[in-house]
Subunit: 340 residues, 2 copies
DNA sequence: GCTGGCACCCTGTCCGTGCGAGTGCCAGCC
DNA sequence: GGCTGGCACTCGCACGGACAGGGTGCCAGC
């Protein structure tokens, strides 16, 4: 029905105008700025219906309309096309990310890049340990009973743990231990590391057995557990951008949630590399994130997801632009980490 | 002269009142809340002198007085005693920091602890590489021509670099290379690593010489250079605390400076473990930090400084309290890292 | 050198008014 | 039936004047 059709067109126009101006948008302005082919009065009628259906609302009587969360949702789902990035932006991505020296650097650059591209707060999850495999294990003795265990994963991540041995460790035993651990764990996914322990204990020479048990317990315990996921956050200065702060109340709860990390990480957990996920306002089901939207996507390949990244900003954000930026950056980072 | 004496007492009272209430403080309120033994009129005279000398100022005619940067400086230097921490706070420090599993964790906890203790933004510098020594070097081949170099320092820090070799690397050569590097560099301060290279090249067996040259060049180049210093920032949510934002304009430049890191790191460079350094407002000589004060101190021992930590907040902050907290935390972290 | 008193200044607040933006509704037109 | 122009109505906001309160500077007196 051409009828409904136009109504959606009106909604799209409202979202676009409101995102770019931050003013509630009225029927007259809409008619002027968009070729809707109808008069303001007609638009008013459509608006009344849209409001009835819960897609828009007026902050107070006799002000323009503002999209609701539901309105943004419809916009994202049906009314927007992902905006392709400009050539300059593509180039910026390459230039920014090339020349990173290590994982930390890659993620640091990524987060800054995303923040700059979208003018929002950017978050990047460290490649999840549980999805990676052991590339190398290193054991260094730092004191009589104390060993430093360094794990290098095939995603280039380096993890360290101190292991306290109940008995003095013979310096001779360290290279043996290293060899044993590597032959047992090299190439093994961290999630499956636990399964290898019995085998390892069987094959270990008797004089090392105690030590191997201690070390592999720590290894499995601390590294299989995915709680250690970390998050890199950047561009928080963008929160303070809108002169009249965009967020309803203060932005403090948001800053707190970002530092908390756990909230955001949980949301990141559901992400996959093939689709950009958008969570709008109340959909986040977390108090601090009411009034905020997340645009997230996984990076890595479909069979080998590494983690997630995205941006968080006010619900009043440029969804198509941010979705495009997030997706493009995720692809690039995925390639970068896959080949290293 | 009892005269000057009282005038300073007035300044101290002004600073204390203003810090706790955030209202410009007037002569009458001062006389009521502090036992200065004189009448408001007298205090007014003293205030006029203090203003003349530049220690206080009035935001506008007929409002109370507010300390200037210079006033805070005098307060910090001469009028305040470092407030000892409460037993509860000491316990909190221990409880918070114990049970950290690795360096990253220690620093993360530290920054959260400091932020919580002071209700300001906290910053902690990673232990500086250039001041540490090599504990162990690990070489892992990740592809034909690509080696991953992992450096473990005696401060427990782990650094990694990818080294691209011009020629295919023989898998056999890797253990040899590792042994060579370790015997050459183990125990050597990173700053002095460069000096060892000629020796190393002399003693290296001919077939490894090219490889050793490549690797040690990368090592020295990238690791001696202190630019890689990192900063952990926490408690930014505290910036948004003051309902009427404490900072003159917006807090955006400050957030930007904190993300920039380099600005703060430069200030951290001058820090040492024996004295708490306070930089007030304009003293920071950086635009973004005008209106902000830094309280910093080094951690580590005098002969072995590791890095710096501190808090940044509005010039209107509780200097004695923050100085005490910063010092106490630095001491504890210093011990913690020294023994690991 | 301190004190009380007084005139003065300034800001923040409260209220009333006018204006403008935007709406809803209605009658008329295509 | 749907669209349009017109019109009355409703608020929010900006402007401006009045007012109270807090704070100062100065002066004369002790």
């Amino acid at each position: 029905m051409a009828h409904d059709e136009r109504r959606l067109e009106v909604l799209r126009a409202i979202v676009q105008d409101f995102v770019s101006t931050n003013d509630p948008v009225g029927s007259k302005a809409l008619a002027e700025r968009h070729d809707l082919g109808v008069s303001p009065a007609t638009i008013r009628n459509d608006m009344a219906v849209l409001e009835e259906q819960g897609y828009i609302t007026q902050p107070h009587t006799s002000a323009g309309r503002v999209p609701t969360d539901k309105g943004y949702r419809l916009f994202v789902d049906r009314l927007s096309a992902v905006k392709p990035l400009s050539a300059a932006e593509r180039r910026a991505i390459e230039r920014f990310l090339d020349g990173a020296v290590d994982l930390h650097d890659v993620l640091g650059r990524t987060v800054r890049l995303l923040a700059q591209l979208t003018r929002q707060v950017a978050v990047v999850q460290y490649p999840t340990l549980s999805r990676s495999a052991v590339r190398h294990l290193e054991v260094v003795q730092v004191a009589g009973t104390r060993l430093l265990l360094v794990l290098i994963t095939d995603t280039g991540r380096v993890e360290q743990r101190v292991v306290e041995s109940p008995v003095e460790v013979d310096a001779q035993a360290v290279p043996e231990l290293r060899a044993l651990l590597n032959s047992a764990f090299a190439g093994v996914r961290l999630t499956e590391a636990g399964d290898k322990v019995p085998d390892l204990l069987d094959t270990a020479p008797p004089h090392l057995r105690g030590l191997v048990a201690t070390v592999s317990t720590t290894l499995v315990e601390t590294l299989v557990e995915p709680s250690e996921d970390r998050l890199v956050v950047g561009g928080t200065a963008n929160l303070a951008r809108g002169n009249a702060m965009e967020f309803s109340g203060t932005m403090r709860p948001l800053l707190e949630a970002l530092e908390e990390q756990v909230v955001v990480l949980r949301l990141m957990g559901e992400v996959d590399p093939s689709t950009v996920l958008v969570r709008i306002g109340e959909e986040n089901a977390h108090e601090a994130l009411t009034g905020a939207s997340l645009v997230t996507v996984g990076y890595g390949s479909a069979d080998r997801p590494l983690g997630g990244l995205g941006v968080v900003g006010p619900t009043r954000m440029d969804y198509p632009g941010n979705m495009a930026a997030v997706r493009a950056v995720a692809r690039y980072v995925g390639h970068l980490l896959a080949e290293s």
